[in-house]
């Protein structure tokens, strides 16, 4: 028991001197991630879209006519884009949405800067005002916090403390992504947690393998040490006394 305590302490100490900082990082990032509500992190509280409801009988342009005009249309959805009732759909061989208005069938163009800003202000729950609006239409210009599959989008930044940013799809007018500082911090916490420092998509890195194996040994040695500290060694001490006699 005695030498086991010394051996496990030595192993525990030296392993932890190598990986202790990462253990601390796992603890800090883990605490951040579990203690902030994931729905809040995803920006679900940043916008609400209750003003988008409409009565069905406003849709006077029939879907049958739409399909006659665009026979390859799929994913047809009737919805409200800003103040206009509209159909959005995809055409064969195109990744982009086509949008037409749902009363007369006229084609709706891409959102202008001021329309995008209006959508953002309608939906935003923040009291901040808009700090900047920018069109993002090239994959290489896409910020890391946005998936390129949504392009082209308007990026609307608010000047509030949380750094609220909306990404609004230019064709459909839908808010596809909401970001704020807490999400950006969460993203970094995740990268540090899984030890993938470039894009946070790879949990299978060899570095993580190495660290988790060392951590297992360090924790097991710690548990052995703990057990030997909890089970008193007095019996052994008494035996030694016997030898003394």
């Amino acid at each position: 028991m005695k030498t086991l305590a010394i051996k496990s302490r030595t192993l525990h100490k030296w392993l932890m001197r190598f990986i202790g900082i990462q253990m601390l990082i796992w603890a800090v990032t883990g605490l951040y991630m579990v203690s902030l509500d994931i729905h809040f992190i995803h920006g679900e509280t940043l916008s609400d879209e209750k003003h988008t409801a409409f009565p069905l009988n406003d849709a006077t342009y029939p879907i049958a006519s739409l399909l006659e005009r665009y026979p390859t249309a799929t994913d047809i959805v009737l919805y409200k884009r800003l103040n206009t009732l509209a159909y959005r759909f995809k055409l064969a061989n195109s990744k982009q949405w086509t949008v037409i208005e749902a009363t007369k069938g006229g084609v709706l163009g891409l959102l202008t800067q001021s329309e995008a800003a209006e959508i953002a202000l309608h939906a935003a729950t923040t009291s901040g005002t808009i700090a900047s609006t920018k069109l993002i239409d090239l994959p290489q210009a896409t910020p890391a916090e946005l998936s390129p599959r949504w392009l082209p989008v308007w990026q609307i930044k608010f000047d509030d403390l949380a750094g609220t940013t909306f990404y609004i799809q230019q064709a459909t007018g839908q808010i596809v992504t909401r970001r704020h500082t807490y999400w950006r911090a969460f993203d970094w916490m995740w990268r540090l947690h899984i030890m993938d420092y470039d894009d946070g998509e790879n949990v299978a890195s060899p570095l993580l393998t190495l660290l988790t194996i060392l951590a297992t040994l360090a924790i097991i040695s710690g548990i052995i040490l703990l057990i030997s500290r909890l089970i008193p060694a007095r019996k052994i001490a008494v035996n030694k006394g016997g030898v003394h006699d």
Binding site: K2, A5, I6, R9, M16, R17, G20, I21, M23, L24, W26, A27, G30, L31, M33, V34, S35, I38, H39, H42, E49, T52, A53, F54, P55, L56, N57, D58, A59, T60, P62, I63, A64, L67, E68, D75, I76, V77, L78, Y79, K80, V203, A204, S205, T209, T212, A215, T216, I219, I220, G222, I223, L225, L226, S228, R229, P232, A233, A237, K240
Partner: protein, 331 residues
């Protein structure tokens, strides 16, 4: 400076509290690091199903004619096994797993439409490429083993293959929500353990894990403080060995001991017995030796030993390096 003994005490009791969970976290971490993501998805036998039928689109009833008076947020044209339908939503929750509010109408007749268990079974079969036979479709209440967040009723169709595939389908539309099999169930178990999600909330925002995370952070913080604290009594580098006269039960001998090593470790390595519970942590106070020469009293000595004992030359052997001693007497 925080007392080392106090810090070490915190470290010990916190590790008693979170030790096993730490092992679970790192063990499941190794699983996620090593797992075959393709297999763990549960989609071994899954393929996409095409539902598009050939009903003439000119027969579709205009949406404005549907018998629905409340305001809606969207209306979509969807196909279910060749049948054209209007899917009308009166609420738009941000997640598909949240409780849904929507109604289906037949796109030609405009009448409300309900899926039949046979249709569901057929869709499940069409989404499945494996060798198993399909069970009947059963409408099942949450919670589900593939995702604790799912709040909606789902159809379940089970296949009797070697990985026990279950196919879950949307209660109203029959859309395939997930394939679940032994591999994905294992992953789900690992997630449950990693997130301490024993109530199957499907997430990690709950009080139990927050409490454990705070305890773990304190444990790791105290550990880092302990691990990187240097022994202040280190001898100069070039002196590698030091001679110490050791008086013990078996007699008296002069040993050449590593100068910078704590005396406890040096003596133990030399085959001499010094009692210890904590293995050199400065917390048990058992590794007492007596010395004739002057050895500076450390905080830890003072914590465990009385003024009299210190006067007599008693010191904790784990708290001083060998080079501080010229002569020691063991208990």
């Amino acid at each position: 400076m925080i007392n080392r003994v106090v810090l070490s005490g915190w470290h010990k009791w916190l590790s008693l509290f979170v030790g096993i969970q730490l092992l679970i976290w790192v063990g499941t971490g190794i699983y996620f690091n090593q797992m075959d993501a393709q297999a763990a998805s549960g989609n071994m036998y899954r393929k996409t199903v095409s539902h598009r039928g050939n009903t003439p689109t000119s027969d579709f009833m205009p949406l404005e004619k549907l018998a629905l008076n409340e305001p809606v947020v969207s209306a979509a044209l969807i196909w279910v096994s060749g049948t054209p339908l209007y899917l009308v939503k009166t609420e738009n929750p941000l997640h598909n797993y949240s409780a849904q509010q929507h109604t289906l109408f037949h796109a030609v007749s405009g009448l409300p439409w309900y899926i039949q268990p046979d249709d569901v079974q057929r869709i499940a079969q069409r989404s499945y490429t494996g060798p198993g036979q399909a069970s009947e479709a059963v409408l099942t209440l949450p919670p589900f083993d593939f995702d604790g967040r799912q709040e909606n009723l789902l159809w379940k169709v089970s296949f009797d293959d070697e990985v026990h595939t279950d196919v879950y389908l949307h209660a109203e539309t029959g859309a395939v929500i997930a394939h679940s099999n032994d591999d994905s169930r294992l992953k789900h178990l690992m997630l449950t353990l990693h997130f301490m999600d024993y109530a199957n909330t499907g997430g990690f925002n709950h009080a139990l894990i927050v409490i454990f995370a705070i305890a773990t952070l304190t444990l790791a913080g105290s550990g880092v403080l302990l691990a990187y604290r240097r022994n202040p009594n280190r001898a100069v580098r070039r002196k590698r060995e030091t001679d110490v006269r050791v008086i013990h039960t078996g007699g008296c001998e002069t040993l050449s001991l590593p100068a910078n090593q704590p005396l406890l470790f040096a003596l133990t390595q030399a085959g001499l017995s010094v009692s210890t519970e904590c293995g050199g942590g400065g917390t048990c106070g058992q590794c007492v030796v007596q010395t004739d020469n002057t050895v500076a009293v450390s905080d830890v000595d003072r914590y465990h030993l009385t003024e009299d004992e210190l006067q007599q030359g008693k010191r904790l052997s784990c708290q001083h390096v060998s080079s501080e001693f010229t002569s020691v007497t063991l208990k």
